[in-house]
């Protein structure tokens, strides 16, 4: 058994608002194995980004971690003071954001932004750092890297900028990258290239990736495993093939059914009635129960944990074996 | 009956909403609002509550001149805050003076708002050459400090008016001068909002129905751009009051016969060295408190109405 490099256990993220404490992420647990690509998929507002931010310690107030633990290679990191967490950021855990244009400081050359990061975390000399940066730009596919290292962000196109961002995130070789909607802001034609690049680089450097997105197609492309989030809960986890081909949770079922496929005919795309509840309106029991075609009494009363539903795990009472007899 | 119910509903919605909540939560803003209200009321009610009538020369007695405030040994309870060199009771003069200051401030702000909103709506909605001309003028004007523009208008107006009419018209000239120098912010903001609203569906719908452009501008678009306008209006009120005080202090505002707060301070400065500080300090405190209160209100309003911070 390989030791996971990241363990998230019973993570709970809360917000203090004038209407009371709002729970945005509720009892989420998962492990990340070294080098794997782990997708977290769900609608906007499901809590995916918050989960990612809390792992790297960039959760913004009034949000805070209310409960749970996060372990990086066995070391607990969710309660580290700022200056210790800073050393982990970039070096052990990296993060890339959605919009490559706003992710780069417009007043500095990309070379400066690269070398600055390298020099912060390593003992290299400035000229070594610059050479390393140029090699990185080459690796991510920036042509004429030697010249373009002295260019400013606005001199690059969107796709090129995201490559620069990826280079920045990988430059001191973290073992885990959190990618929060890395392709959403890009043209469809570029998305595939960036995704392929991400996959290749992470495989080469043995870097694990947490890929946060609402785009199931992207997940299906490169993830090894995937977790489906709904209203701040994990509703299903498993290998990507299993979850896509044979989803067990009614929500995952609806999600997979709504993806148009080139491979077989479908009469119409599945639509799930209703909408994901807002944070202050989450119903008791299973959060999906108002929209679920299979909901029964227990679903409205009691919240399910992830149950074993070979080959995946799903949080749904339909799969509680004792219950099955009673049905 | 229906309109009463509608008003009740609007009031309910208002008091339930975020804005009232944020107002209640900020003690500072509540105090500021109270102070402003007190000033406004006191100024309006000046003839009723002032112990003396400092603007009526018949009631003044030079023997009373330069009396210190009541808590000094040569002060008297009759003149609570002392008197100036003409024998005018400082407290009453502050009341009457605030009246002038607030009136000029308010009227000029309304003038600036009217001009600014109208020009803003027109340039935003009609666009083209009209917009270009209006915005050019705005650009040139805003690169000069408003005080200078106000002083210029004042100077020109008075060169054109006969000397005898100066005193009666001074307040109106000031309203005109300050109003004309402060319209640009209103115009720019309203133009920006108009450009955004212009493309929205309710405007397209009104056009399709065949509404006249003026109707569309004033009855449809205007209510939707009032938010930022209110913020600018409040801060503009503070600026207008300050501008009037400054102009009066400089001697190009309200004359000493019927002084505003600024004029009083001007008079008082000469007596500082004689140790008669009350002629400067009390009007100064009054002016500063009023402007501070209005500024705080404006600050709160800007934060409360800012969609980005909600």
């Amino acid at each position: 058994m390989v030791e996971p490099i990241l363990k998230v256990e019973h993570l709970r993220i809360e917000f203090d608002t004038r209407r009371g404490i709002l729970v945005a992420v509720d009892d989420v647990s998962f492990d990340i194995l070294p080098g794997e690509v782990f997708g977290i998929v769900g609608e906007s507002g499901a809590g995916k980004s918050l989960t990612g931010q809390s792992i790297i310690g960039l959760l913004e107030p009034p949000g805070r971690i209310g409960a749970g633990e996060i372990y990086l290679k066995g070391r607990r990191i969710d309660q580290l003071p700022y200056h210790q967490m800073r050393r982990i950021r970039g070096k052990k855990i990296g993060m890339i954001f959605q919009d490559p244009l706003t992710s780069l400081n417009p007043l500095y050359t990309i070379g400066k932004q690269l070398t600055e990061t390298i020099l912060t975390h390593t003992e290299m000399r400035p000229d070594e750092a610059r050479r390393h940066a140029t090699d990185l730009l080459d690796e991510v596919g920036i042509p004429a890297a030697g010249k373009r290292i002295d260019h400013y962000p606005h001199q690059f196109s969107g796709g090129m900028r995201q490559r620069v961002v990826i280079a920045l995130a990988l430059c001191v070789k973290p073992s885990l990258i959190i990618a929060d909607e890395p392709t959403t802001a890009l043209d469809v034609s570029i998305q595939a290239q960036i995704i392929a690049l991400l996959k290749r680089l992470c495989a080469e450097h043995d870097t694990a990736v947490i890929l946060i997105t609402h785009d199931m197609g992207v997940i299906a492309e490169i993830s090894d495993r995937v977790a489906v989030m709904y209203a701040g809960r994990l509703v299903e986890v498993g290998n990507v093939r299993d979850v896509v081909k044979n989803p067990k949770h009614p929500y995952s079922l609806g999600l997979m059914g709504s993806i148009p496929s080139l491979h077989h005919q479908a009469e119409e795309l599945t639509q799930i009635e209703g909408a994901m509840p807002r944070l202050m309106e989450i119903p008791p029991g299973c959060p999906f129960n108002p929209r679920c075609p299979h909901a029964f009494d227990r679903c409205r009363r009691q919240r399910p944990d992830l149950l074993d539903t070979e080959p995946t795990r799903a949080a749904c009472w339909l799969y509680d074996h004792e219950e099955k007899h009673g049905q | 009956m229906k309109s009463v119910v509608r008003i009740q509903n609007s009031l309910h919605r208002f008091f339930d909403g975020d804005i009232w909540y944020s107002f209640k939560k900020s003690k500072v803003t509540i105090i500021a609002a109270c102070v402003t209200a007190v000033f406004m009321l006191a100024a309006i009610a000046a003839p009723l509550i002032a112990p003396h009538t400092p603007f009526d020369p018949a009631t003044l007695d030079l023997m009373d001149a330069s009396t210190p405030p009541a808590w000094y040994e040569d002060g008297t309870a009759k003149f609570l805050l002392g008197t100036d060199d003409q024998g005018r009771d400082i407290f009453s003069t502050i009341l009457y003076g605030s009246r002038i200051s607030i009136f000029v401030g308010f009227a000029s702000m309304v003038l600036a708002m009217t001009i600014g909103i109208t020009l803003g709506l027109i340039s935003g909605y009609i666009g083209g050459a009209v917009e270009a001309v209006i915005m050019r003028i705005a650009d040139v004007q805003i690169s000069f400090p408003a005080i200078l523009t106000a002083m210029l208008i004042y100077g020109v107006a008075f060169s054109l008016l006969p000397n005898e009419r100066h005193e009666d018209l001074v307040v109106w000239v000031l309203v005109l001068a300050i109003g004309l120098s402060n319209w640009v912010n209103f115009a720019r903001t309203v133009r920006g909002s108009t450009l955004v609203e212009k493309n929205k569906e309710y405007v397209q719908a009104a056009r399709v129905i065949g509404r006249r452009p003026t109707t569309i501008m004033f009855r449809h678009i205007l209510p939707n751009v009032m938010g930022p306008v209110l913020v600018i209006a409040t801060i503009g009120l503070a600026i207008a009051i300050l501008t009037e005080a400054t102009l009066s202090f400089l001697g190009v505002g309200v004359p000493p016969t019927k002084p505003s707060l600024g004029t009083l301070i001007r008079i008082g400065q000469d007596f500082l060295f004689a140790g008669e500080w009350w002629i400067v300090i009390f009007p100064g405190i009054a002016l500063a408190s009023l402007v501070l209160a209005v500024n705080l209100l404006g600050d709160w309003m800007r934060d409360a109405l800012n969609p980005k911070l909600r």
């Binding site: 706003t102 990061t117 | 005080i147 500063a288 402007v291």
Partner: protein, 327 residues
């Protein structure tokens, strides 16, 4: 870049022309120049002759051209109030105003920017709240009141600083400076503080709000996510991005300081241009009024031009053409 400069110079020229037109209209048509210049007993015939001699009956275009030409040569006419050539008056008074304005501007920048940075970075600390309170008072207390209070305390009560005037001045060519004598330095302290106070408040608020905006951007988040030190993030990235717009706006403010000097000069009886202008307004001394207008407009236009060019030099986004590389 060159094209830009030429375009801006051309625009400035148009502005100056407009201002000259306004000044000319004032000069010629507000009040009657001739009756201002002569005594009560001058006959109508004599006044008519003067009008001819002065060219007041020529076509408007000719008069304006003459006016413009005279202005360029520095011939601004004769003051109605003082009977002396206007340009002499201004040469005498200009140094006083400029020295005062420059010291005040320096003061507001050197103190205002650090205050703004501090309150932007640490908005919840006690010192920040103190600074905020000071800024509120600075905006609400009219400049003249601040001046008077200073005079009252430091001049009348404590007797440390002179309550009016410029102190001893040293003549350097046509420039007179008060900065080389002790009494001159003492005399400039309160006026410079008074004049600079309002600007300081504006700068502080501006820097604070820019700083807070910048700290919320994605590139700052990304910089933190890369594990850059607090110092690098706050002062390397945030500060630089904050100062770029601030420096340009501040430059523009210098022009308005020169105009606001009117108030300070009145309070402290400082023998500058502002006081001259004020007295001109009170006496309807049109030549002085219109000259002041033209001079101020000139300063503004030159400052605007410099600031504009500076902005283009400092912000790389405006400097380079967008070189777009393929996807």
């Amino acid at each position: 870049m060159i094209a830009l400069i030429i375009r801006r110079i051309f625009q400035s020229f148009i502005v100056m022309l407009t201002v000259a037109l306004v000044a000319f209209t004032l000069f010629r048509y507000v009040g009657d120049p001739v009756s201002q210049m002569v005594g009560q007993e001058t006959s109508i015939a004599d006044m008519e002759r003067m009008r001819e001699e002065l060219g007041l009956n020529d076509p408007v275009i000719v008069q304006f051209a003459r006016f413009a030409w005279n202005t360029l040569q520095g011939k601004f006419g004769i003051s109605y109030r003082l009977g002396r050539p206007v340009n002499e008056l201004f040469v005498e008074r200009l140094p006083a105003t400029l020295e005062l304005s420059l010291i005040a501007a320096l003061f507001s920048i050197v103190v205002g920017i650090p205050m703004g940075v501090y309150t932007g970075l640490y908005p919840d600390r006690v010192l920040s709240k103190v600074f905020q309170a000071i800024s509120l008072i600075g905006i609400s207390l009219p400049t003249f009141l601040i001046g008077i209070l200073l005079i009252l305390y430091f001049g009348v009560i404590l007797g440390w600083l002179p309550t009016f005037g410029r102190g001893e001045v040293v003549q350097l060519g046509w420039w007179s400076t008060g900065l080389l004598t002790v009494s001159g330095l003492k005399a400039i302290i309160m006026p410079a503080f008074t004049l600079g106070m309002f600007q300081l408040t504006l700068i502080m608020r501006l820097v604070r709000s820019e700083m807070m905006e910048v700290l919320r951007t994605d590139y700052i988040k990304f910089a933190r996510a890369r594990g850059l030190t607090n110092r690098a993030v706050n002062f390397g990235h945030a500060l630089k991005n904050t100062l770029v717009p601030v420096i340009t706006i501040t430059g523009l403010q210098i022009g308005s300081i020169i105009a606001f000097a009117i108030i300070t000069e009145t309070v402290f009886q400082w023998p500058g241009m502002g006081l001259l202008f004020l007295q001109a307004i009170q006496f309807a001394d049109i030549p002085v009024m219109s000259t002041y207008l033209i001079l101020i407009a000139f300063f503004f236009v030159v400052i605007n031009l410099i600031v504009d060019i500076l902005y283009h030099v400092v912000d790389p986004r405006l400097r380079f053409d967008k070189a777009v590389a393929a996807g």
